[in-house]
Amino acid sequence: MSNSQAAGAPPKRTIDVVNASLKRRYARERRFRLVGLAAVILGLTFVGLLFADIIAKGHTAFVQTYIQLPVTFEAQTLDPAGTRDPETLAGANYQAVIRDALRSEFPQVTERRATRALASMISVGAPSHLRDMVLANPDLIGTTREVWLLADDDIDMLMKGHIDRNLPESERRVKDQTVAWVEQLESRGRIEKRFNTIFFTTGTSREPELAGIAGALMGSFYTLVLTLLISFPIGVGAALYLEEFAPKNRWTDLIEVNINNLAAVPSIVFGLLGLAVFISIFGVPRSTPLVAALVLSLMTLPTIIIASRAALKSVPPSIREAALGVGASPLQTQMHHVLPLAMPGMLTGTIIGMAQALGETAPLLMIGMIAFIVDIPSGFTSPTTVLPVQIFLWADSPERAFVERTSAAIMVLLAFLILMNLGAVLLRRRFERRW
């Protein structure tokens, strides 16, 4: 180049040099944008696939098969003495009532084996449903009513097409005989899928058709509330102290490093710690929201502290100077000015921590949440399980009907996560509207 210049070529103008490289620069920019777009699309595709899979598998769990039978509440069977004593009514043989109803619906079935197969079409939970009906309204005794009874999970699976009717009988859980009965019921309009209220109102069960999410949901709710109550004040307080009041020395450096390390500790370690400290030393009852919240608070504290400190750091120092300058004490400065401005960031961190806690399974297995608990918890110290553990347990169950319940539970969990994130966004908006 220096040669050509020496030969007397006119010196290149800057604009020509710029123009020459412009095309290359734009191409690079386009490539960058394409890569970014591809990454976003890829991510969205995976999320979409995941959601589609879960919804496809899980949506059928929101309906459940019921069989309509003409149930005769025989006084002879239920209340031979005619006293209408609730205890007698509660202890009566409702299984027999159902057997009679089935016999009247299928009079041609007389053989013992077949009768038993017929009875197994109805869920084992049906008798207690009838009992509840009678206890609520003893006048039913002596009458005949058309009652929709919960079907067994195999019948439910057959109705939902998860058991293929065209397979040879030997490869199918439901016998030809039963399929024929179901088809009879179908032709009479006595079998149908209805909204599954049981799923939302009961605890878990060994019987898939009786298993619900309410126990785990309430367990998660109690646990999260307690986790929030423990970790938010402590986390914000710690962040405030470390960021604004603590002297900067070797000790605070050490604490800072440790907090950052804690954030990276595998969550199961917190479970072991909870088992060793809270349960073994302090005797906190296991499998309860209380012990779960303590463990999850330990786990989410670093997240909250780190996010809160970042939020405090982002508050302009001029606000602190302004407050101190008119004679506010350091604590007043923090409480009146810095904290409100840092609140949106703190809340975001907290919600992220809570979402983590909501989805956490491993440490809870350590502290007994894996126990099979049917009851819906009534407080912070009653044994319970939580959503992710319930999902884990159901996913581990062999029955085909638990597959859809697992996916449905995941959907409920996701719905809660989305709700929480929405709440975070709304809270942010609320706080940020204060200019």
Binding site: P247, K248, P316, S318, I319, R320, E321, A322, A323, L324, G325, V326, G327, A328, S329, Q332, H336, H337, L341, R434, W435
Partner: protein, 287 residues
């Protein structure tokens, strides 16, 4: 202005032998640091940031009903010195102040003295307008509220109106006191900050380059305001504009690399500086 740093250090180097016998440490301030009617009295103030010394043995009085301006090239320690006067430096880690600073005879760095009420007596206006992200009313009301200066809403309203009026902002904002203070123009924000400062009735007001972020018209309004405030307050103002110092102050102090070089009547400093460095600075040879 066109002088290079090199040039400047040569000048100082030359001076340290010729004019400052005994080296920089023993440099004495030219002019009279005292005044007839002092409110704040500073003697031999040293300020250290960690191990570096930012202020070297500065003595200066701030009189009643006067405006003292502090000028000097940037980084010479004007802000640092000003922030000593209401102990704002306490908030900086590793900042150490020695010497004596007295407000009405009381040493403000006394062990038992609480900096919180001190800052109610010695208010501060900062370089960048920093209203709270709250309403105009709340901005001014904050000081009186936390100090419990008023007993009723009516009394508070009165204080707020008075402060805004003294800050020359009342007519512009009286119809929108509930609007955010951050929504005002830069000049209005700075006057709001002044109103916030005088709402707690301080005795001394410190101003650190209060007009450096403002346009000339807003600057003129604030300068006029400073002149009016002089009737009731002592004012120490840091400024990088020599014209401003000349316009608003009665006395001027010239700082250079942590030393207080010269103090005198503003008129004398700008027309007849005694020290070479002062002369170089005000004639624009460096800074």
């Amino acid at each position: 202005m066109s002088t290079t740093v090199d040039d400047m250090s040569r000048r100082i180097g030359a001076m340290s032998s010729a004019e400052l016998a005994g080296g920089r440490e023993s440099r004495v301030t030219v002019g009279d640091v005292t005044c007839a009617n002092p409110r704040m009295v500073c003697r031999d103030v040293d300020v250290f940031y960690g191990s570096t010394q930012a202020i070297k043995g500065v003595s200066l009085d701030i009189g009643k009903n006067e405006v003292v301006s502090m000028i000097g090239p940037s980084g010479c320690g004007k802000s640092t010195f000003l922030r000593c006067l209401n102990r704002m430096n306490d908030t900086i880690d590793g900042c150490r102040v020695t010497g004596s600073i007295k407000l009405d005879g009381q040493d403000i760095y006394d062990k038992g003295l609480d900096p919180v009420p001190l800052r109610a007596q010695v208010g501060m206006v900062f370089q960048k307008p920093n209203p709270f992200p709250k309403s105009i009313y709340e901005n001014v009301a904050y000081g009186p509220r936390i100090h419990g200066l008023t007993n009723s809403k009516a009394e508070l309203d009165e204080v707020i109106e008075g402060s805004l009026q003294k800050a020359g902002l009342w007519n512009e904002v009286k119809d929108r006191l509930d609007k955010p203070g951050t929504g005002l123009s830069g000049g209005q924000q700075q006057r709001l900050c002044i109103a916030r400062t005088i709402a707690v009735s301080p005795e001394v007001i410190l101003m650190d380059e209060p007009c450096s972020a403002l346009d000339p018209i807003a600057t003129a309004i604030i300068e006029e305001l400073i002149d009016e405030l002089r009737a009731n307050y002592s004012i120490a103002i840091v400024t990088h504009s020599m014209q401003q110092a000349a316009r608003v102050s009665q006395r001027t102090a010239y700082f250079h690399l942590g030393d207080l070089i010269e103090v005198g009547e503003t008129n004398q400093i700008f027309t007849n500086p005694k020290h070479r460095l002062t002369e170089d600075y005000i004639t624009g040879r460096f800074g």
